[in-house]
Amino acid sequence: MNDEIERLQSALRANRPSPPAECQERALAAALAAFDDHHQTRSKGAVQAEYDNRRRGVWWLFLPVSNWWLRPAFASAITLGLAVVLFVAYLRPFTQLSSLGPGLESGLQEQDWEGEPPDTLSSLTGVFTSAESAPPLGLSAAPGGRAMRSLAADRAGGTAFRDQGRDRFTAFDPNPVKVTAEEPVSTFSIDVDTASYAFMRASLNQMVLPPQDAVRIEELINYFSYNYALPDSREAPFAAAVSVLPAPWNPTNRLLHIGIRGYMQDPGAAKQANLVFLVDTSGSMNAPNKLPLLVNSLKLLLETLAPQDRVAVVTYAGAAGIALPPTPVAEKSRIHAALDRLGAGGSTAGAEGIRQAYLLAEEHFVTGGINRVVLATDGDFNVGITDPQALTGFVSRKRNSGVYLSVLGFGMGNYNDDLMQRLAQNGNGNAVYIDSLSEARKALSEEATALLFPIAKDVKIQVEFNPTTVSEHRLIGYETRMLRREDFSNDKVDAGDIGAGHTVTAIYELTPAGSGAERTEPLRYQVAAPTGSAFKDELAFLKIRYKLPEEETSKLITRPVTSADAAASVEAAPREARFAAAVAAFGQLLRGGRYIGDYNYDDVAALAQDARGQDPYGYRAEFIGLVKLAESAAALAPLPSPDTINGP
């Protein structure tokens, strides 16, 4: 039966190649030289280091300016990079979008020179064209995605190549179940980034499940705007909506759903914006779908600005240069002309460009206005300061001067999420990962206000559970945002910001005391949880701390969660809570579904479908489409997490 295999096996054994000795020596010598070189430069901290490793990506350099909303997302690969950022007028039609900020993420990408050319073009073109017609659904990217996949499929040796498995994500384990009697308190920072969602979508549109560590459940949940009640005034900049519903995947358990919605800025109170677009025009941008897409995205952003806002354009390639001095948006044709003149070529002196851009922003600083550098790039910086440390330091010093940085990045394949996260935690900027023109629209025009106009910073949430009523609790997502209990009231500890109209949602899964559904076994020697306390009606006590944007002392909002907040069945729960629960279930499924039993993609789709509500822009409909895609992708011998690989 297995004759051929056995024959092959013995033939392989008989013909085992041995390397010519001189080849081996040469290779070892070269490798040691590379090793010395690598470690020397690294230890100097320097500038050249990234040059050697430019595939590893560099963009992080830029990024961060803000604390938390930026998170990273990047991706890279094939696609393009652009970064744009957004700022913009809040004035705009925000009114009805309650939005949550898209966190910006940045995507940056790094590009791998060896592999990509052919497929880059084709896939990009697909994405580009489909996005151009701009249906609101991110699904629009699907045709391109499909093309890519077939390219990537077993045709090695063929002409198509999609960079895969080079994306880097910080590995983390899902938050564990905690026993209330031992750890009654749970503390975390809010997170309004959405990079993970965009990355997941781009991945699923290629029919590939995203790596588990790329899925940050809180970012998936917070991608959507939820229609929570608005706060009444700026004094209390946000309101908390709390509901308790049965866990869809385990009826004995309850979900505690906490929704926060930021105060909406009065449209009449818009501040003047002083924006400097810093555009990467290096050779790596020289793909039909990078620079042109970048230019289109910036034009989109222009549409959301008020006529008196000022915009400048700085380019950086081999040398940095000012392509457009600060110009009022009223002179739109001049700005368009400058953007259209941009051409790609040369290496990337990213750091020099950043310096120039900051200089320009500082020269035209608008006191009390929005001063921001918007970096648009594919992240391939290879000349000048390429040391992430130096760059992060630079960016955070500039933050203190009042100039913030935002980043827009594109691409997938060697997205360095890890680095983006580090950068993101350094400044007051935002990073957005955009995988299509429709995503650009969401981030740049619909939600620009939230991004530009923080209404509270360092927002932290602490929940104390009542052991009388809750025996176990588990926070879904936020693994990378957990804080120590004592940090809650320490105003020195940084946390996430919240923008005008942003919504932030957190979900806990609770095991009611006495339900018998506990995952942890009772202990023999420990004293049982006290019963009969005075708070029999309360499940938990919610505390939120925040600082107003100009203040350094935090304020506290508290609220008990009582049985009055509980819904008897999933169907009876508020629609927004049900939708958030569906997204949370989806995120957990993508991460392996450790705590959700046999709840499956169909259940998620059904739950989300019921809770779609108005969905004016089709984001929720898109989500349901993604759930279906994930089901198909999972069925198709999915890629396991490339994390195991950490490879090239």
Binding site: N2, D3, E4, I5, R7, L8, Q9, S10, A11, L12, A14, N15, R16, P17, S18, P19, P20, C23, Q24, R26, A27, L28, A30, A31, L32, A34, F35, D36, D37, H38, H39, R42, S43, D52, N53, R56, E114, G115, D154, A156, G157, G158, T159, F161, Q164, G165, R168, A171, A637, P638, L639, P640, P642, D643, T644, I645, N646, G647, P648
Partner: protein, 181 residues
């Protein structure tokens, strides 16, 4: 004293330990070279590939994280590099069809061509790169299907499926060989 594990060496090398790095290379150079020969079908190309991989390792090791076995990680690096190399070669010509046409016998370090090695070369050349790589990892390198899957970025089920295809291809080839000797 026991020898340090690959994993320990890799972590030390990543942190800048030159000796650990040299030791690691010594242990694994043959392996790297061998995969290159099998996948690329040519010793010269394999030597180039091995050198390229070795030179790239210092950078990659700095981000090496202890997850699974070192060799799994290394296979992954080598397999990816080999794929890249094939891809580059393919832009010049379709390498797969040329595989069997490559001059084989007169290379240094190779025993004279016998019928089995001709058969082997032709059999490997007939398989797609994916199948060939999978086969080498499983048969020659002795990886389990799950581990090979990790190297290749696919599930164990996919590896099993590919091995099944390999068998089918080889059998079909054997039949053909008899008909057309």
């Amino acid at each position: 004293m026991t020898e340090p594990s690959d994993d320990a060496l890799a972590i030390r090398a990543g942190a800048g330990d030159r000796e650990a790095f040299a030791e690691l290379l010594k242990r694994h150079y043959d392996r790297i070279f061998r995969i290159g020969v099998r996948v690329l079908g040519d010793t010269e190309a394999a030597a180039d590939l091995a050198q390229e991989v070795c030179v790239g390792l210092p950078g990659k090791l700095t981000s090496y994280r202890r997850k699974g076995r070192f060799t799994t990680w290394l296979y992954r690096v080598v397999v990816n590099a080999a794929r890249d190399a094939l891809r580059r070669a393919a832009t010049r010509r379709r390498l797969e069809s040329d595989y069997t046409a490559l001059k084989a016998p007169d290379r240094p370090g190779h025993s004279p061509e016998n019928s089995e090695s001709v058969w082997l070369r032709q059999a490997l050349g007939r398989l797609s790169v994916e199948l060939r790589t999978t086969l080498i990892l499983v048969i020659e390198e002795g990886l389990g299907h799950a581990e090979a899957g990790k190297v290749l970025g696919v599930t164990a089920a996919t590896v099993s499926w590919r091995m099944h295809k390999v068998r089918k291809c080889l059998r079909a080839y054997a039949v053909k060989e008899e008909v057309v000797p």
